[in-house]
Amino acid sequence: MLDDFLIRAALGGIGVALLAGPLGCVVVWRRMAFFGSALAHSALLGVGLGAVLALPMTLTTLAVCLLFALLLAGFQEQRLLADDTVLGIIAHAALALGLIVVGFAETVRVDLVGYLFGDLLSVGRSDLVWIFVGGAAVLAALVRLWPSLLRLTLNEELARAEGVAVRPVRIMFMLLMAASVAIGMKIVGILLVVSLLVIPAAAARPFARTPEQMAGLAALVGALAVLLGLWGSVRFDTPSGPSIVVAASALFAAGMVWQGVRRA
């Protein structure tokens, strides 16, 4: 069954969606979408380094993402520049650096579009293992961190008073995001990975009463978007990554319209 590239693509996509849903909710709550983008941009540097150093790209990507997460966390401690300014600097510096490094690696250049926009249809068995094992590990860590993240989102002052170790929790979550960006990159690509975090979570918000409902719904919306996108990709011969993002956006829009109609 796994021989069929479509089945593998669907499984891989759904795996990433199940991870991105709950994680994306926290991203949306804590206004970290731009942070996710910056991480995704730095992933290209990981791809380039992997090619130049002849190391597995998933590993170099993960390493670079984690490194940039720590770098960004460090920058958050200073007060002279706003977070979005710092992110703007680092995201583009990372992207530029990544493009230069990729330029040194002749073999990658051909695949650049694949890495930027994802190539779900080329997902192999080893990718599936990476997605599901890595994804499960990240999700398990997220479950542990969940109550602290909720307290932090509700009110940082209250969280501190209740003994939540604010900084470690924040850094831990950034590292989880880095890991999931590295995992999701293969599916939707560097430039679109953030959309899989943000769009399903945003689509789930109007229909959720509790944080957990929103997380579950976001995972469902993401999985549905993957299936819809894949179907569209085959049916209309469109690139798979962008098709998934378009499908997710369509689901989000449908949800908004439904909300509007219900309220009217």
């Binding site: 509700l154 209250l158 501190r160 008073a161 209740e162 944080p211 409902q213």
Partner: protein
């Protein structure tokens, strides 16, 4: 000292070159309601943060009774509607508490009907009650409330202070609260501490309001307003705005 829940000794806090608190002494004991009053920028919230252990003082020390549990309601907790959450979920977050305990805490603050309401749909007064319930679930020996009555109308404020008094009477916990609402605070508390970077004056409300430091800090008008406060109504509202039957209403705080 027995009965002392938390005590600040000579606490000084600086932010850069600015001194926010200067050698502040403060003590809260079991079963007493202490009000911290003072003008904006007096360092009231900072002092609470020191007592909570969020801010470390540059000088001085904070002493807590062994195993002290503090229930805290921060100032102006603004809730971001991006986060979907109802009262039940919030209260569950307070601790691994059983359903009974959630309901007990909600009933204690008169908000049991709100269990399944979204936090975003609560009025200011209801929200404040729910936060109080959240703080109570941990069964605190000390309640620290930062401007609990902010954004609530006068009748609601009186109701809220009566509730705080009731909680103190039932649980015997200590209460430390910050407020701007001088007249109500003076009526509903055991001890008042006027803070303006240092402790200007402290003592029983009637005594404090006559001290020259107090009059200087709040002006004669502030001091006079205390005498003005006599709330007369032929009916009462609870925090949700519903009219409460007089015979079922809790006794008004002594003016």
């Amino acid at each position: 000292m027995s009965g002392t829940l938390v005590a600040a000794h000579g606490v000084t806090v600086r932010a850069g070159a600015r001194t926010i608190l200067r050698e502040v002494d403060l003590e809260v004991r079991s079963g007493e309601i202490v009000a911290l009053i003072g003008p904006n920028g007096a360092g009231k919230t900072t002092l609470l943060r020191v007592l909570l252990g969020i801010v470390r003082p540059a000088a001085g020390s904070v002493e807590r009774s062994a195993g002290l549990t503090i229930g805290y309601v921060p100032q102006r907790l603004r809730l971001d509607p991006i986060l979907p959450i109802d009262v039940r979920r919030l209260l569950r977050l307070a601790g691994r508490s059983r359903k009974i305990r959630l309901q007990t805490a909600l009933r204690e603050v008169g908000a049991e009907h709100l269990l399944d309401t979204s936090l975003h749909d609560l009025s200011g007064g209801e929200f404040q009650r729910v936060l109080l319930a959240y703080a109570l679930i941990r069964e605190p020996a000390l309640l620290i409330l930062d401007e609990p009555a902010q954004g609530i109308d006068l009748a609601g404020q009186i109701e809220l202070y009566a509730l705080i008094e009731r909680i103190r009477n039932q649980r015997g916990c200590g209460v430390l609260l910050v407020s701007h609402d001088l007249h109500i605070v003076m009526a509903a508390t055991d001890r008042v501490v006027c803070l303006n970077q240092h402790v200007c004056c402290s003592g029983r409300p009637e005594t404090v309001s006559r001290t020259p430091e107090y009059v200087h800090l709040f002006g004669q008008r502030g001091a006079d307003r205390l005498a003005v406060y006599h709330h007369e109504h032929d009916h009462r509202h609870d925090l949700g705005g519903r009219v409460v039957e007089p015979e079922r209403a809790p006794p008004a705080p002594d003016a």
